[in-house]
């Protein structure tokens, strides 16, 4: 089988499939495996059975070590650019390779959304993920005075990672009337003196050839700017942390049907309780199947790895059943509580659509 994308979902899928004895080709367009884990310097929560209390970068290393023990063929700096059924065309080092597989798991993750405003094209305006890559992977600070737009977990976490890198986060602004991310992350930056301004949006970014200032404004209950609440902040970087959307180019190429789910980030590939899409033998796992978190990505990866290995005959139906029940229970736990319930509902609906799409109409 081919697994496209070696972030947490892809790594987990590769582990389960190779543990069962299946032959796996793990493909990634980057020069390293690990996906988003490589940039996550903060400690994770979530399933206490799995990786709670460990930093993302260490989770990545742990999974890699486990994977090294099995035989996985890994192809890096490899771009899957065309699919014919289960045959992949891969561009690597300016050469094209054709790879025939029996099962495909797409674990390509998600990409950042953007908002636009006057001045948004000025150098200095960047995705929060891009800022995180600069500080945590390349150890370069994007600037000194940062305005963070968005108070979801990405906005909050990247804010304190920028503070750790020596930058001054001047403010976090959030259009909604409440903070989007976890209290734990919000508290950290509040303690560091960063104001989180809810019901605020950015009006304009200014500067001579690059960001030098930004004007923010308060919003009323109808999302309209309130007169005389404008403030201009002196900043040299404006980070956009306004959400992620699944990277569905490859599933679309494969003919997988999608559905729009605002909760899950946008268009998501329809999948059933085994992570199988509407195209038989093609699975999805992780953020590509709905933007959630690392621990749900890992469990969905496990589920896709187990289900596809079972279909290939490497795991018996009974053993697979038990393994899947265990994984689904963990997923249910991860999706509980005030932050998880809307995702749990969205995923339940998605899986229901996936299950019913298996039935052929007469």
């Amino acid at each position: 089988m081919a697994i496209v994308g070696s972030g947490p979902a892809g790594l987990a899928a590769a582990l389960e499939a190779t543990n069962a004895g299946a032959k796996v080709l793990l493909i990634d367009e980057n020069a390293n495996v690990g996906g988003q884990l490589l940039k996550q310097t903060h400690k994770f929560f979530g399933s206490s059975k799995r990786y709670a209390g460990i930093r993302g970068i260490d989770i990545g290393n742990k999974m890699l070590q486990e994977l090294d023990k099995n035989h996985v063929e890994i192809s890096l700096t490899s771009i899957v650019f065309q699919i014919f059924g289960k045959e992949l065309l891969i561009l690597k080092n300016e050469k094209i390779q054709r790879v025939k597989t029996k099962k495909i798991i797409y674990s390509c993750g998600a990409s950042e959304k953007v908002i636009n405003f006057p001045g948004w094209t000025l150098p200095g305006v960047m995705g929060a993920g891009g800022a995180q890559t600069l500080v945590n992977v390349h150890r370069v600070s994007p600037g000194n005075r940062i305005l963070m737009i968005g108070s979801g977990n990405v906005g909050l976490v990247v804010s304190y990672q920028l503070i750790q890198a020596g930058a001054d986060v001047v403010a976090v602004i959030e259009a909604l009337p409440k903070i989007g991310g976890y209290g734990v992350h919000a508290s950290k930056i509040c303690r560091a003196g960063v104001p989180i301004l809810t019901s605020h949006k950015i009006k304009e970014a200014y500067g001579n050839g690059k960001v030098e200032a930004a004007t923010i404004v308060a919003l009323d209950k109808k999302w309209q700017p309130i007169l005389n609440t404008e403030r201009t902040l002196k900043v040299d970087v404006i980070c956009l942390a306004v959400g992620l959307k699944p990277k569905i180019e490859l599933p679309l190429m494969s003919g997988c049907k999608t559905v729009h789910s605002p909760t899950l980030g946008g268009r998501v590939p329809i999948h059933d309780e085994n992570m199988e899409t509407t195209e038989k033998g093609i699975y999805v796992a992780g953020d590509i199947a709905g933007v959630e978190e690392v621990d749900t990505a890992i469990e969905e990866g496990r589920l896709a790895g187990i289900a596809s290995a079972e279909k290939l005959g490497y795991i018996s139906e009974d053993k697979a059943k038990d393994l899947k029940i265990e994984v689904r229970k963990i997923l249910g736990d991860l999706r509980s509580g005030p932050f998880g319930e809307h995702r749990e509902r969205a995923k339940k609906q998605l899986i229901q659509i996936g299950k019913s799409s298996r039935q052929r109409l007469l």
Binding site: T121, V125, P142, G209, K210
Partner: protein, 98 residues
């Protein structure tokens, strides 16, 4: 600006120093890092200019998706500098016409 001290990542590892040439100026870089990283560390924010209005564009997504970071590298246009590693002696130019 290079982050020399970091509470979690520790002190900056000693990596091999190399020189790259950006618009005929010599810029220091670390071997293996993306071109964009070296430029931002050196305080360079404009990577290319748009064709119609000559508006400056710089680093945006950092993941090779948006093409805002593209520059002419060793004579080749439209190179995404956020995912292309530096090499000693590389010639990099601001792409001024789109």
């Amino acid at each position: 600006m290079r982050i020399v001290k970091h509470p979690i990542l520790g002190p900056l590892e000693l990596k091999k120093n190399i020189n790259i040439i950006v618009d005929d100026k010599i810029i220091k870089a670390y071997e293996g890092e993306p071109i964009a990283s070296a430029l931002i560390a050196a305080g360079i924010t404009t990577f290319h200019k748009t064709k119609k209005r000559g508006d400056p564009r710089g680093y945006f997504c950092g993941i090779g998706l948006c093409t805002d970071c593209m520059m002419i590298v060793d004579g080749i246009r439209n190179v995404r500098t956020c995912i292309t590693p530096v090499r000693g002696g590389m010639r990099i130019e601001t792409q001024k016409d789109g």
